[in-house]
């Protein structure tokens, strides 16, 4: 059980400059939604007003999409609305996602003033050819401009997003990405293995044979190269795809991995309070219409069972390198992990995918890139 009723808050902005070729997120080119945006932000604040009432907010994450693609006036409206409707506790981590080419000095000042203290910028690659393959609307130079702007505005906690495993990519390419990234001294680096999501243009090209995917062996080599490289550079590997300087881990995301409570507002946003999972309708226009008419019923509520909560807590916690703390587990669920999962644990121990260390169960080094083999045992 959580000690208090505080929660994280996720705010979804489903607009981007353009759709990237690997992306299957709930996001749309902003040009198609110009006349809808102000209705959307109104709706979002209305939802926030209804939902956030008495819940202390310990982290805020405005994600997307690209929140910084919003016109200044809309961004301002959201930031002001947040301080008005949400009880954000003092010194709360407050992140906003941004992409190169969408930032202005004004927007950055506005965010600083509203208490945003962490920015996450999507770089994805330092190789313009890869950026083009990904369908990113910027090049590396453009990223550097944005990054400088962010630093100049005074942000001291910045994340850079990277993707590895692009078709045709070599280990040397990743090495170059890492060198350049590390030389920018970001406090946090998220680096994801490319997922070929069904139906995305990139996936279609691979299926058609236009592009050939990397071998899993090369991807695994890349993954462990990245891990070693960043650790050497002083970053702590704290989640399967996340690295941070000391004290700079993303508190908001850790709420998800600890399976703690969070609110979600905006089209397609999910939330979890106790055993209740909520999921908003994804379609932007329907979202706007529905909140006007029926208030709370834009949610698809799902009450999960205790068993589901336990299994989710296990596989989410194991994503973190600190693993699942056995004492915390017992305090939260009143049950001993080893009694519940003796068989599964022994099998995974035998396969050298899982280990016990300092009162926690965690993935082994091999287990990190094979973590689904571990997680399936717990669902």
């Amino acid at each position: 059980m959580q000690a208090d009723n505080s929660a994280g808050l996720y705010v979804h902005i489903p607009f981007c400059l353009s759709k990237c070729r690997y992306c299957d997120f709930n996001s749309y080119p902003v040009s198609d939604f110009r006349e809808v945006i102000s209705y959307y932000t109104d709706t979002l604040l209305e939802e926030l007003r209804i939902k956030a009432k008495d819940i202390p907010v310990k982290t805020v994450f405005i994600g997307g999409g690209t929140p910084t693609v919003l016109p200044e006036v809309e961004l301002d409206k959201i930031l002001t609305g947040l301080s008005k409707f949400a009880k954000i506790i003092e010194n709360a981590e407050f992140s906003v996602e941004a992409n190169p080419g969408t930032l202005t000095l004004n927007k950055l000042k506005m965010m600083r003033k509203a208490g945003v203290n962490r920015l996450s910028i999507g770089m994805q690659s330092t190789d313009d050819k890869v950026l083009k393959l990904f369908g990113r609307p910027h090049d590396y130079k453009k990223f550097l401009e944005s990054y400088k702007m962010v630093r100049d505005a005074g942000f001291t906690n910045v994340n850079i997003d990277l993707i590895f495993g692009a078709p045709g990519q070599k280990l040397s390419g990743i090495k170059k990405d890492l060198e350049r990234t590390v030389n920018l001294f970001p406090e946090h680096i998220s680096i994801y293995n490319l997922i070929l999501e069904e139906g995305t243009p990139l996936c279609v090209d691979v299926k058609k044979g236009v592009l050939s995917p990397l071998s899993e062996n090369l991807e695994a080599d890349m993954y462990y190269f990245i891990k070693d490289y960043l650790e050497k550079a002083g970053y702590k590997h704290y989640e399967i795809s996340n690295f941070a300087k000391h004290g700079k881990e993303c508190e908001h995301n850790k709420i998800y991995w600890k399976n703690e409570d969070y609110l979600g507002v905006g089209a397609g946003a999910s939330g979890k309070i106790g055993l209740n999972r909520t999921e908003n309708i994804e379609d932007v226009k329907q979202y706007i219409v529905l909140i006007k008419d029926i208030k709370n019923d834009i949610l698809r509520n799902q009450k999960i069972s205790r068993e589901t909560e336990i299994s989710e807590t296990v596989f989410l916690s194991l994503r973190m390198l600190e693993g699942l703390n056995l004492t915390t587990f017992k305090e939260r669920f009143g049950k001993d992990f080893f009694i519940l999962f003796e068989k599964q644990y022994n099998k995974l121990l035998d396969l050298k995918l899982l280990k016990e260390e300092n009162g926690s169960v965690k993935l082994t080094r091999t287990g990190l890139f094979l973590s689904n083999e571990v997680f399936v045992e717990f669902v």
Binding site: G8, Y10, H12, Y192, N193, L194, I195, E216, N217, E219, A220, Y223, I240, S241, N253, I255, Y256, W257, Y262, G264, G268, A269, S270, G271, K272, R277, E279, Q302, T308, S311, E312, F315, L316, R319, L351, K352, L353, T366, L368, F369, L370, S371, N372, E373, F375, V376, V379
Partner: protein
Amino acid sequence: MDNSKLRNFCIIAHIDHGKSTLADRLLEATGAISSRDMKEQFLDKMELERERGITIKAKAVRLNYHSKDGQDYVFNLIDTPGHVDFTYEVSKSLFACEGALLIVDASQGVEAQTIANFHLAKDAGLRVIPVINKIDLQGAEPEKVLLQLEELGLNSDEAILASAKEGIGTDLILEAIVKLVPPPRGHADKPLKALIFDSLYDVYKGVVVFFRIFDGSINSGVKALMMRANSTFEVTEVGVFTPTMKQIEKLSTGEVGYFIANIKNVSDIKVGDTITDALNPIKNPLPGYKEIKSMVFCGFYPINPNEYNLLKDALEKLKLNDSSLMFEPESSRALGFGFRCGFLGLLHMEIIQERLEREYNINMIATSPNVRYKVITNAGKEVEIDNPANLPPAGEIKEVMEPYIMMSIITPPEFMSNIMDLCKSKRGEYVENQFVTTSRVQIHYEMPMSEVVFDFFDILKSVSKGYASMDYEYIDFREADLVKLDIMVATEIVDALSIIVHRDKAYYKGKELALRLKEIIPRQMFEVAIQAAIGSKIIARESIAALRKNVIAKCYGGDITRKRKLLEKQKEGKKRMKQIGRVEIPQEAFLAVLKIQ
């Protein structure tokens, strides 16, 4: 009953030529069942049978027919199984009749089972009435078929042009049955002599026995002696199917019907057995009785060991209605406890396997099918082997013998050389070719049954563009240079993957099997070696590289439900795999050998 008004007949045909549809029309036309509540193909009982378009269990139906001659007739229509696996059952059903409608598809013409069934009918002394079916379809060539029938020695003047689907020719068929099929003969005053041609299990009544009376009569209270099984049951009910079950007082000479006698297991009833009155028995049973022998064997193993009893119960239930299904417990080092099952043929095996999975929801592994071998040991002992894993070590074997069949293939002449190549590649020994009609050749080969039971039919269809048809019968056991091919996965022999093959083919099969398994077995957390071996000699080796990636790179608040579903799906996949040693092997691996051409 006046026997001169009685007609017993059956319908015989090559598969898919329209036998069941015609049966439907006859039921409709005689008012046995109204067309409104007619479920297509009434005589095909099980859903599975209907899907596969075949009839497994024969059933007899009594029909009342008012003929154009002004007289009322009683017909007994005996439905026969329509597949090569069930030849013996067909022959017994034929024996219960005086006439047969031989259905030939107007566009397909005469095929292997048309000829096989025609000969069975002639051997049983039946009056055969040819019916050319599906004449309404495009591509129908009734004139050609008429010629083919004449060349078989049938009277083409008697052939009836019909479309069972459209109801064309139904009256002509009914009249022909009256005119051409002779009434049954026999003596009502002689002691009871009747033939069992089928049985089924009814949950409320127990075993229902279908029979045909040649002499005497039967009514409830009779102590029926089954002469071959040497068992006696007191008859509690006799009756006929109309097509619903209808109890009547007595069945007499020439009639067809059922009796019930408090019999618990269909295996107590043997198709082809002779029934007589235990208190006034005849001396000699009817000729032609054969013990049903399994021809194809495989192991069934539950994936989850806890489902062993479930599988056992399911097999027992299936056996209630299928006396030709054999099974006995066996255990495999790799697969644990399961059952070795015997079938009439591969189709029979597939049907049982599907029913276990579909109707009983059992997740199981079927090992690759094999025939029964005879081994003569150096000590001079003869052993029958129905599981390759049980083949004695090479050093103890003096000789191994395998079953041979006589294969009969009917084909248009242009595919002859393809087919002969196929038969040769399957170790066939040429016997003869003959033109049965100007456009149809019948090819005979003696072949090892093991080469035929797996994919022969599929290949035959493909090399003949679907035109060739086949039929076969068992001949004898012959010595052959056979060896056991073992498969090792991660250095452990997986006994359930062992096969017996001809030495000349062992290298090829071993290599192919190892390759195939490499494709089927998913990568594990470590490198897995797959080896094929004869005795201690490794003849092929493949290796499956270790799995290195299975990861969800991104997982945040919005994804959790979706990602959980993804994991659940992976888990479902794993459930269908069997853990053997440290390696997880999917079900289809055990049938991999079937996929090798």
